[in-house]
C-alpha cells in the first residue's frame, strides 16, 4: 500500500494545488503560499525516491537544501511584499505591473 506511486500521487496533488494557487490567487502572499506547496512537493519526491530506489541519503540532503532555500525565499519574498505594500498600499499582484511600462 505504501509504495512509491502513492507518494508521487500525494506530491502531484500538492504540486497541482500549488500551481492553481499561484495562478488563481491575486494576493502576493497567497502566491507565496503556492510556491511553498510546490517546493514541498518537490522535496517529498526526493525523499520518496531516495527511499524506494537507491536507499541512500542523497535525497534527504537535497530535501534539506530545498527547505533551506524555501526559508530564504520566504524571507526575501515577504520582505519584498512588505516593501511593495509600503509603496503601493496594496499587495494585489495586478498592481505590480512595472514590467508593462
Amino acid at each position: 500500500m505504501i509504495s512509491l506511486p502513492s507518494f508521487l500521487a500525494i506530491s502531484f496533488i500538492l504540486f497541482v494545488s500549488g500551481l492553481v494557487v499561484m495562478i488563481a490567487k491575486k494576493n502576493i502572499i497567497a502566491i507565496l503560499l503556492g510556491v511553498e506547496l510546490i517546493l514541498n512537493s518537490a522535496a517529498l519526491n526526493f525523499a520518496a525516491y531516495t527511499r524506494f530506489v537507491n536507499q541512500n541519503l542523497d535525497g534527504h540532503i537535497m530535501s534539506l537544501f530545498i527547505i533551506i532555500i524555501a526559508a530564504a525565499e520566504a524571507a526575501v519574498g515577504l520582505a519584498i511584499v512588505i516593501r511593495f505594500f509600503q509603496i503601493r498600499e496594496s499587495i494585489h499582484i495586478d498592481d505590480a505591473t512595472q514590467l508593462l511600462q
Binding site: I23, I93, L100, Q101
Partner: protein
C-alpha cells in the same frame, strides 16, 4: 598715348573706393566721408581731364580708340574654343567726352550737395550713394562690352532706387523708387535678351567684336522667333534704352524720381542714369542701323519729345516741369539717333547734361530757400512762388541762361545741338515721307519747350509773390562757394561756343579771324565697322599695335558725303536753324503774353481744351494704365488667383486629396474583409488576426502571473517533446 591701368583705372576706382570706405565709416565720421567723396571725385575728374586732353588735343581722328581687356572668369574650352568672359576698357573720343561730362557734373553736384544736404540727418549716407552712382556711370562709359555695360547699368538702377527712396520714412518715396527700378528693369530684361542674342551668336559681347561681326555679316541669315537676329537684338537693346532713358512707353518712372533729394535728381536726370540709355544706343548705332529700326527709333523719340513737352505745359511743381523737360529732351536725343544725327544726338546729350544739371541745381537752390514753417518742409509748388528774382538774383541768372539754352536761343548750347538734330530730321523728312511725322513732332516740341520753360521762369521769378508769408520768410541769397560756384561754372558752359567752336554754333556765322574748328562734330562720328574687322584683341598691359592702321589725325568736313550731298545738307540745316530760332522766340512770346502781360489767359485755353487738359493732368493715363489696370487688375489679380489655385485647390484637393483616396481604399478593403471574407466563411483570416491581436495584447500585460502561465505552457510543451 599709351594708356596703362594707372592712367584709366583711377577714374572709376577712386569713387568706388570712396564708396567702399565711406560705407563703413559714414556713421562715425560723416563729415570726413563727405570730404572723401568730394576729393576722390575731384581726383577722378582730373584723370578724366587728362584723358580728354589726350584725345581731343592730340588727335582728331574719330576712329582711334584704346581697348584693353582682362579675363573676368572663364569656363574652360567649349568646342575647342576657350570661353572667356572679359572685362576691360574701351576708350574713344566719345567715351573721353562723356567721361569728362560725367565726372565734371558729378563733381559739381557733389559740391552743391554739401550745401543742399547740409542739414539733413543722413548727410553722409547721401554721399555714399552718390559715389557709387558716379562710379557705376563711369564704369559704364569705360566698359568695353555689353555685359559689363549691363553690370554697371543695373548698378545704377540700384543706386537710383536707393537715392529716390532716400527719404524712406515717406511712403511715396518707396513707391517712386520701386516704380523707377521696376520700370527700368522692364527695359533691362530686354537689354539682357539682346546681349544674350549677340553673345550666343558671336561668342563675345565686346563692342569691337560686334562691329566686326556686323561688318563681316556674321549676323546674316540668323533668325530668332521669326525675326532676323540683328533686328531682334537691336530692338531688345533699344528697349533697354527706352527703359533707362525714359522713352515712350516706359517714361512713367522719371517724373516720380523727384522724390529723391534735388541734387540726386540732377545726377539722375543730367549726368548719369538717363544719359546711359542714350549712350548705349549711340554705341550700338551700327547694330540699330543694320537692324533697320532707325525709323522706329525716330518715331519713339518724336512721340516722347512731344508728349512729355505737352505734359510739362500744365505742371505746377518746379521739379516736375524739369522732369518732363528731361524726358522731352531725351526724346530729342533718341530722335537724333533715329534720323542719323549721331554726332548731334551725342552733342545734345552733353549740352543737355550741363544745362539740365544747372537747372536742377538752381531749382534745388530755390527750393532750399523756400521753407514753409507750417509744415516744416520745402516748397516746390510754383503757385506759391513768384517774384523771387529779387531774393535770389544769382540763381535767377543761372537759371535764365539754362532756360535760354534749353529753349534753343542762339549763342546757347541747346541751340547748337538741338537744332542740328532738327536739321537732320528735316533732311530725313524731305527725303522720306515716313519721317515727316517725327520731324513735325520735334518742331512742335521745340515750340512747347520754349513756352513751358519760360512759363516756369515767369511763374517762379517774375510777378508778384503769390504766397506773401513764404516770401517774407525767404532769406536773401548770399554768395557761397558751394551754392553759387557750381551754378556759375555750369552757367558758363551753357554757352554755345564751347561746343561748336564758333560763337553762334552751327558754323554759320564765323567769328572774324578765328579758325573754323568744329571740334565736336569732327571728333565724334559713327563707328566705321569695316575698320574693326582687322583688329586682333589686345591683352591688358600690352602696348598698342594699331597705330599702323589707324591714322590719328583725320578730318573730313563733309562727313563722308559727296560735295553735292553736303551742300544739300548744309542748305537744309540752314532752314532748320532759322525755323527753330523763330519757333523759340515764338514760344517765349506766348509765355510772355500769358504770364507777364497776362494778355492771354491760360485758363481760357485749359477750359477750351478740357478733355486734353484732363489727359495731360493724368499724364495721358499711363500711370493708370500700368498701375491700376495692368498691375492691380491684371498681375495682382492673376497672382492671387494662382496662389489660391496653388494652395487652395491644387494643394488642398489634389495633393491632400490622395488621402481621401487612401481612406476610400482602406474602406473598400475593410468592407471586402468583413463582408466578403467573413460571410463567405473563411473566418480564419480575420479571426486569427484578432486572436493574434488578443494574444499580443495580453502578452504585453506586464502581469507576472501571465508570464508564469506562459512559462508553464512552454515547459509542458518541452516535456511533451521530450517524452
Amino acid at each position: 598715348m599709351d594708356y596703362t591701368i594707372g592712367n584709366i583705372a583711377p577714374i572709376i576706382l577712386l569713387p568706388f573706393a570712396a564708396f567702399v570706405i565711406n560705407a563703413f565709416i559714414v556713421k562715425k565720421v560723416p563729415k570726413f566721408a563727405v570730404g572723401l567723396g568730394c576729393i576722390t571725385m575731384f581726383a577722378s575728374f582730373c584723370y578724366a581731364c587728362r584723358v580728354f586732353k589726350d584725345f581731343v588735343f592730340v588727335t582728331y581722328s574719330a576712329d582711334y580708340y584704346v581697348h584693353k581687356v582682362f579675363t573676368w572668369f572663364d569656363l574652360g574650352l567649349i568646342n575647342g574654343k576657350p570661353f572667356n568672359v572679359d572685362m576691360g576698357i574701351y576708350l574713344d573720343n566719345m567715351s573721353a567726352v562723356l567721361l569728362l561730362m560725367v565726372t565734371g557734373c558729378a563733381l559739381i553736384i557733389h559740391i552743391f550737395s554739401t550745401f543742399y544736404m547740409e542739414h539733413d540727418a543722413r548727410f553722409g549716407s547721401f554721399f555714399v550713394y552718390l559715389s557709387l552712382f558716379t562710379a557705376a556711370m563711369i564704369g559704364l562709359v569705360l566698359s568695353e562690352n555689353l555685359l559689363s555695360v549691363f553690370v554697371f547699368w543695373e548698378l545704377m538702377g540700384f543706386c537710383s532706387y536707393s537715392l529716390i527712396g532716400f527719404y524712406y520714412e515717406k511712403e511715396g518715396a518707396g513707391n517712386a523708387s520701386m516704380k523707377a527700378f521696376m520700370t527700368t528693369r522692364v527695359g533691362d530684361v530686354f537689354f539682357l535678351v539682346g546681349i544674350l542674342a549677340i553673345w550666343s551668336t558671336i561668342g563675345s559681347t565686346s563692342f569691337v567684336d560686334i562691329y566686326a561681326a556686323i561688318a563681316s555679316g556674321a549676323f546674316n541669315d540668323l533668325t530668332v522667333v521669326g525675326i532676323p537676329l540683328v533686328t531682334f537684338s537691336a530692338i531688345s537693346i533699344f528697349l533697354g534704352t527706352i527703359g533707362k532713358s525714359a522713352q515712350f512707353p516706359l517714361q512713367v518712372w522719371l517724373p516720380d524720381a523727384m522724390w529723391g533729394p534735388t541734387p540726386c535728381s540732377a545726377l539722375i536726370h543730367a549726368a548719369t542714369m538717363v544719359a546711359a540709355g542714350v549712350y548705349l544706343s549711340l554705341r550700338m548705332y551700327p547694330l540699330m542701323e543694320a537692324g533697320g529700326i532707325t525709323t522706329v527709333i525716330a518715331y519713339i523719340g518724336g512721340i516722347t519729345a512731344f508728349g512729355a513737352a505737352t505734359i510739362a505745359l500744365i505742371q505746377t511743381d518746379i521739379k516736375a516741369v524739369l522732369a518732363y523737360s528731361t524726358i522731352s529732351q531725351l526724346g530729342y536725343m533718341v530722335l537724333g539717333i533715329g534720323v542719323g544725327a549721331y554726332n548731334a544726338a551725342f552733342m545734345h546729350l552733353i549740352t543737355h547734361a550741363v544745362f539740365k544739371a544747372c537747372l536742377f541745381l538752381s531749382a534745388g537752390s530755390v527750393i532750399h530757400s523756400l521753407h514753409d514753417h507750417h509744415t516744416d518742409g520745402h516748397v516746390q509748388e510754383m503757385p506759391r512762388m513768384g517774384g523771387l528774382r529779387k531774393k535770389m538774383p544769382f540763381t535767377f541768372i543761372a537759371m535764365l541762361c539754362c532756360t535760354f539754352a534749353i529753349a534753343g536761343f542762339p549763342f546757347f548750347s541747346g541751340f547748337v545741338s538741338k537744332d542740328r538734330i532738327l536739321g537732320d530730321a528735316l533732311l530725313q523728312a524731305l527725303d522720306h515721307k515716313t519721317m515727316i511725322a517725327p520731324a513735325v513732332l520735334g518742331f512742335i516740341a521745340a515750340l512747347l519747350t520754349a513756352f513751358y520753360m519760360f512759363r516756369m521762369m515767369f511763374l517762379t521769378f517774375y510777378g508778384e509773390p503769390r504766397d506773401k508769408e513764404l516770401y517774407e520768410h525767404t532769406d536773401v541769397e548770399t554768395l557761397s562757394w558751394n551754392r553759387n560756384v557750381p551754378l556759375l561754372i555750369l552757367t558758363v558752359f551753357t554757352l554755345g561756343f564751347w561746343y561748336s567752336g564758333s560763337l553762334t554754333g552751327q558754323g554759320l556765322v564765323k567769328f572774324p579771324g578765328v579758325e573754323h574748328k568744329e571740334w565736336f562734330s569732327t571728333l565724334i562720328k559713327k563707328p566705321d565697322v569695316e575698320k574693326f574687322t582687322k583688329y586682333k584683341r589686345e591683352a591688358w598691359g600690352s602696348t598698342d599695335s594699331r597705330d599702323q592702321f589707324f591714322e590719328k589725325a583725320h578730318y573730313d568736313a563733309n562727313h563722308g558725303m559727296t560735295e553735292a550731298q553736303a551742300h544739300h545738307a548744309h542748305h537744309v540745316h540752314h532752314i532748320g536753324a532759322i525755323m527753330s530760332i523763330i519757333i523759340a522766340f515764338f514760344g517765349f512770346f506766348i509765355a510772355y503774353m500769358m504770364y507777364i502781360k497776362k494778355a492771354w489767359s491760360p485758363g481760357w485755353w485749359s477750359s477750351k481744351l478740357s478733355p486734353w487738359y484732363r489727359a495731360l493732368q493724368s499724364k495721358y493715363f499711363f500711370d493708370d494704365l500700368y498701375i491700376k489696370v495692368i498691375i492691380q487688375k491684371g498681375l495682382l489679380g492673376m497672382n492671387n488667383f494662382l496662389a489660391w489655385i496653388d494652395m487652395g485647390i491644387y494643394d488642398r484637393y489634389i495633393v491632400d486629396g490622395t488621402e481621401v483616396i487612401n481612406r476610400f481604399a482602406y474602406r473598400v478593403s475593410n468592407w471586402f474583409d468583413n463582408k466578403i471574407v467573413d460571410t463567405v466563411g473563411v473566418d480564419g483570416t480575420g479571426a486569427s488576426v484578432r486572436l493574434f491581436n488578443v494574444v499580443l495584447r495580453t502578452i504585453q500585460s506586464g502581469k507576472i502571473q501571465f508570464y508564469f502561465m506562459i512559462l508553464v505552457v512552454v515547459l509542458v510543451s518541452y516535456i511533451w517533446t521530450l517524452v
